[in-house]
């Protein structure tokens, strides 16, 4: 799979492998190369996520973790390779078209529309929902997941704390009723209590059956709630395996888990 063969994907204990190996993947990257300008970031990156799975991508800085998400979202166009969603190619589509297919994305840095209220931010999340009558119930559902947002629905998003903004960014993505959600470093730069909260909420989403693809610095925490994980290094797949397996793997521990 890897272009230069040297670092072919090394699957950990295939035995205890990912539960839903059967059935077609919901989202799949096949040998995707992607570049920023002249610098190639992804080298034949491949991964697959099945319905209901929570998958983490971990790896050192500069490994291209976020780039994988941007390539899926169409923010960065792959130079080669294919991205399939629900069996259909979405390679080369615009981000808004990809969102309409059912993929949600929480960008890094808890970016909200600062000059808009909480409710307006959520409304923007529901932009693809054609039936505007459903926006209200969807918003109420977000408020049950994130009660804090409900209390602050008329507050300008820019005036909220970082953790609250991250909750809003996560709430906003749910408004489009996505079939899979991509989250880029959801815990980055947050106060410890909010980091806990973020993972708690991710756990709740998992419980509710949401398919999630996480990119996280905090590899240990991330793998612990994931069904499977991919280890990316310099834009190449290095290891893959179930969350617990990866957590237990010596090489992964040594290299990426700081112990």
């Amino acid at each position: 799979m890897a272009a230069d063969g040297a670092q072919a994907q090394s699957v950990q204990t295939q035995s205890a492998a990912a539960p839903p190996a059967n059935g077609a993947p919901l989202l799949e990257l096949r040998d995707v190369d992607a570049s920023y300008g002249k610098v190639q970031i992804l080298h034949a990156a491949s991964l697959a996520i099945h319905p209901g799975e929570v998958v983490s991508i971990i790896g050192p800085n500069g490994a291209g973790k976020s780039t994988v998400l941007k390539a899926v979202m169409g923010i960065l166009r792959p130079t080669t390779g294919q991205i399939l969603f629900d069996g259909q190619s979405i390679t080369g589509l615009r981000p808004d078209q990809i969102v309409r297919r059912g993929i949600g994305y929480v960008p890094q840095g808890r970016i909200v529309f600062r000059d808009m209220t909480v409710a307006e931010n959520l409304e923007m999340g529901a932009f693809t929902i054609a039936d505007k009558g459903r926006v209200r119930p969807l918003m109420d559902r977000v408020f049950t997941v994130f009660p804090r947002l409900g209390e602050r629905r008329t507050q300008r998003a820019g005036t909220m704390s970082g953790g609250e903004q991250q909750m809003l960014a996560m709430g906003r993505v749910l408004m489009s009723e996505p079939r899979v959600v991509l989250m880029d470093e959801p815990s980055l730069g947050l106060a410890p209590r909010f980091i806990e909260l973020v993972f708690e909420k991710i756990g709740e989403l998992k419980e509710a059956g949401m398919t999630l693809l996480l990119v996280e610095q905090n590899a240990a925490k991330s793998l612990s709630i994931s069904d499977r994980g991919y280890v990316l290094e310099l834009g190449r797949n290095r290891f893959t395996g179930s969350g617990p397996d990866l957590l237990a793997d010596d090489r992964v521990r040594r290299l990426y888990l700081g112990g």
């Binding site: 615009r94 981000p95 808004d96 994305y105 970016i111 909200v112 923007m124 693809t128 906003r172 489009s176």
Partner: protein, 287 residues
């Protein structure tokens, strides 16, 4: 009473400025393109209104919706063919492009219509209303009212409608707007059309209130930039207040110094304001 008269004249003047500045601000906000050809869009609106009146003899105010609709469409064509290509490019690219457009439109207009000054003088809109010793120009009052209604309607559209919110979202963070499923290319298209329509409406009002020729765009674009800087880049309300401030400052300066000096004095005052408030009345630091 004179002072009040001068202030009222200035406020009425500010309405038209506001409409122009608001459109310019909208385009900048969404596209991060400083549209140096914005004044020429006003000029085209003025000519369209003039020719409407010249051909039909009907109330020139009836031309406003037609001209605005035509310029909405024309603006979108212009955006797709030219402006869209420089979105996301360095600022210099868009400045060069829009400067080129400005020169081109002025040149074509000069060739078609000469530097002759024109004006739409529609009898019912001449003269003034006497209100408590004040003389309020009919044409300016009507122009102010229309500018107010159009600006207000645009404001409400941007605040309340889904598309309006999508425009604001795109202005605040285009990439995130895109991953909310907003087709930001279309938002840019619509915003430019909207900004063009607002400029054209300002042009219709200019045709009714002032005399104009193909070079009028340059006079007004300078004012529009001053207003945006004063009101705060990207702030709709700020642009409106900035416009009224400029109008009043200009007329007061003309009253206390001279018409010749008024513009210089008005700009000096604005520089003073910016020294105290560098980001204008409502400016927010760009994130």
């Amino acid at each position: 009473m004179d002072l009040l008269q001068v202030i009222v004249s200035g406020l009425l003047l500010g309405g038209v400025y506001a409409l122009l500045a608001a459109g310019l601000n909208l385009i900048f906000g969404v596209m991060r393109v400083i549209n140096l050809a914005h004044g020429e869009l006003l000029m085209l609106g003025a000519y369209a209104t003039f020719f409407f009146y010249d051909t039909t003899g009907l109330n020139p105010l009836l031309a406003i919706p037609l001209v605005a609709a035509a310029m909405f469409a024309g603006g979108m064509v212009l955006q797709r063919l030219t402006i869209e290509r420089v979105v996301g490019q360095p600022l210099l690219s868009s400045l060069l492009l829009t400067f080129g457009l400005s020169t081109l439109l002025t040149g074509v207009a000069l060739n078609l219509w000469t530097t002759n000054f024109r004006s739409v003088v529609y009898e019912p809109l001449t003269g003034s209303l006497g209100i408590g010793g004040l003389s309020i120009s009919r044409s300016r009052l009507v122009a102010f009212a229309i500018a107010l209604v159009v600006s207000g309607a645009t404001y409400v559209f941007l605040r309340r409608s889904t598309w309006g919110k999508a425009i604001r979202a795109t202005a605040q963070h285009a990439e995130v707007a895109q991953v909310c499923g907003i087709d930001v290319g279309r938002v840019r298209l619509v915003s430019f059309g909207l900004g063009s329509a607002m400029a054209a409406t300002a042009g219709s009002l200019v045709a009714i209130v002032f005399t104009f020729n193909p070079e009028i765009g340059r006079v007004f674009i300078g004012k529009a930039f001053a207003i945006i800087v004063l009101g705060g880049l990207g702030s709709f309300v700020g642009a409106f207040l900035g416009a009224l401030t400029l109008g009043v400052t200009e007329t007061l300066a003309a009253y206390y110094t001279s018409t010749q000096l008024s513009e210089a004095v008005a700009y000096a005052v604005m520089v003073g304001v910016l020294l105290v408030r560098p980001s204008g009345f409502f400016g927010q630091a760009e994130s």
